[in-house]
């Protein structure tokens, strides 16, 4: 077993503890929606770095292209035209993709050991070689991000460019952003940067501006600066208070150990029955 370049904090369907001695810096990507011009350089840089070339789709009447996340499009720009006030049209452009939750629903729901891992720096990464293509991660995700590929029946999503961060680089989308709407760094630094942006937006009349770092999923490692933080749903349906589905919590939290215990007890009972009562002898005649 090789030492990982990033320490693993949590691993899907694994109960043994992960190495936790080394303290690595928690990182975060901050997307300032007020600075985004919707040029999609991040989409292009993402595809280029990750060697993905999605099929050329069709225009669906809006700028969203592709219209949704796919196994080969790990980030998409979502363009929302909203009238927050009467006669004041706002074009809210949100870069959608994995939020890298501190408490990841996908990892919790995943039944395949090691298919989803969370690194100690906050990245939630899928390892397709262990993926069984069951799609539980999609059910578990409060942001509807993972997608199963039709090509190989495995789930894919943004890796936060874990291969770049592991060698000390920033993600490809962050690097390319021409307006500086996407920034990357230590999570504390990103929160600090966001505070400055929120103060600026408030002084410009966006009284409800704020940082989107939802605590329902333990905070995220991809955060947004929103002009209207009181109404995240304006931004193409960003959930206001995301949390992991109760079903996932029930199944993985309570039901699974109980059922595992049930199976274990059944095996044990069978064993003792065999020891005590012995095999059920059958007459040669009955067998025939």
């Amino acid at each position: 077993m090789a030492l990982q370049s990033l320490d693993i904090k949590a691993r899907s369907a694994t109960t043994t503890p992960s190495p936790s001695v080394r303290e690595t810096m928690e990182v975060a990507k901050l997307i300032d929606i007020s600075k985004c011009i919707g040029c999609k350089a991040c989409q292009v840089a993402c595809m280029e770095w990750n060697d993905l070339r999605d099929e050329v789709g069709n225009n669906v009447g809006v700028y969203d292209n592709p219209a949704d996340l796919t196994a080969k499009s790990w980030t998409v720009m979502r363009y929302a035209e909203v009238e927050v006030e009467q006669n004041k049209l706002e074009w809210l452009i949100r870069k959608d993709g994995c939020m890298h939750c501190a408490d990841p629903g996908c990892l919790k729901a995943c039944p395949s050991p090691g298919a989803i891992v969370q690194y100690s720096n906050g990245i939630v990464d899928f390892h397709q070689e262990n993926c069984i293509g069951c799609g539980y991660c999609i059910t578990g995700c409060p942001f509807n991000v993972p997608r199963i590929s039709k090509q190989d029946s495995k789930a894919y999503k943004c890796t936060l460019c874990s291969d770049r961060i592991a060698v000390g680089l920033e993600p490809a989308c962050v690097k390319t952003c021409p307006t500086g709407a996407i920034v990357f760094g230590a999570k504390g630094d990103m929160i600090h940067h966001a505070e400055g942006r929120v103060t600026d937006l408030k002084s410009r009349g966006y009284t409800n501006a704020g940082l989107y770092d939802p605590q329902g999923v333990g905070g995220t490692h991809v955060m947004y600066v929103l002009q209207h933080a009181d109404q995240p749903s304006l931004y193409s349906g960003l959930p206001k208070d995301p949390s992991i589905s109760a079903m996932v919590g029930l199944w993985k939290g309570v039901a699974k150990p109980l059922l595992s215990l049930g199976i274990g007890l059944t095996v044990l009972a069978g064993f003792f029955h065999y020891i005590k009562a012995g095999p059920n002898e059958v007459e040669e005649e009955t067998e025939k």
């Binding site: 090691g114 690194y119 390319t176």
Partner: protein
Amino acid sequence: MQVTRRQFFKVCAGGLGSSSLAMLGFSPNDALAEVRTFKLERANETRNTCPYCSVGCGILMYSLGDKAKNAKSSIIHIEGDPDHPVNRGTLCPKGAGLLDFVHSPNRLKFPEVREAGSKEWKRISWDDAFTRIAKLMKADRDKNFEAKNKDGATVNRWVTTGFLAASASSNESGYLTHKVVRSLGMLAFDNQARV
């Protein structure tokens, strides 16, 4: 193979038992997951300027192989140059997609000519291309150059030919281009300076 009812039950029970044990965690551990290996580890890094618009962003081009005699280089990745004062590492969507522009099957790699009335593009050498351009320019200039206008004022203009220059030129080459074009009297002079 003859399987009795009893043997069949035994096989089923054994299978169920072992798969249950595996589900309970009594199975060998998988190798721990690692991040995708950094693909530029020893790739050759070359500085260049984005060819698209006149902003002239600096780019880093990464190519396969270390330029050893027997290794054929091929560009595998392009990203912004963080040390370049113009873009400081950023690139627009066109610049960010330069890799596919470099490897595009539609990319023009040599001079071609389509003769008047012909439907076919014909490949010619650079020497032939320059000679041809020079000859045609001279013929047109000799025919249409106006030293004076109809009121007798000196104008020294040549309005029947235009010149389109590259957007990624340096200040020096831009200066030289300007001098050459203007000294010929050419007025229609533009630059592909658009994103």
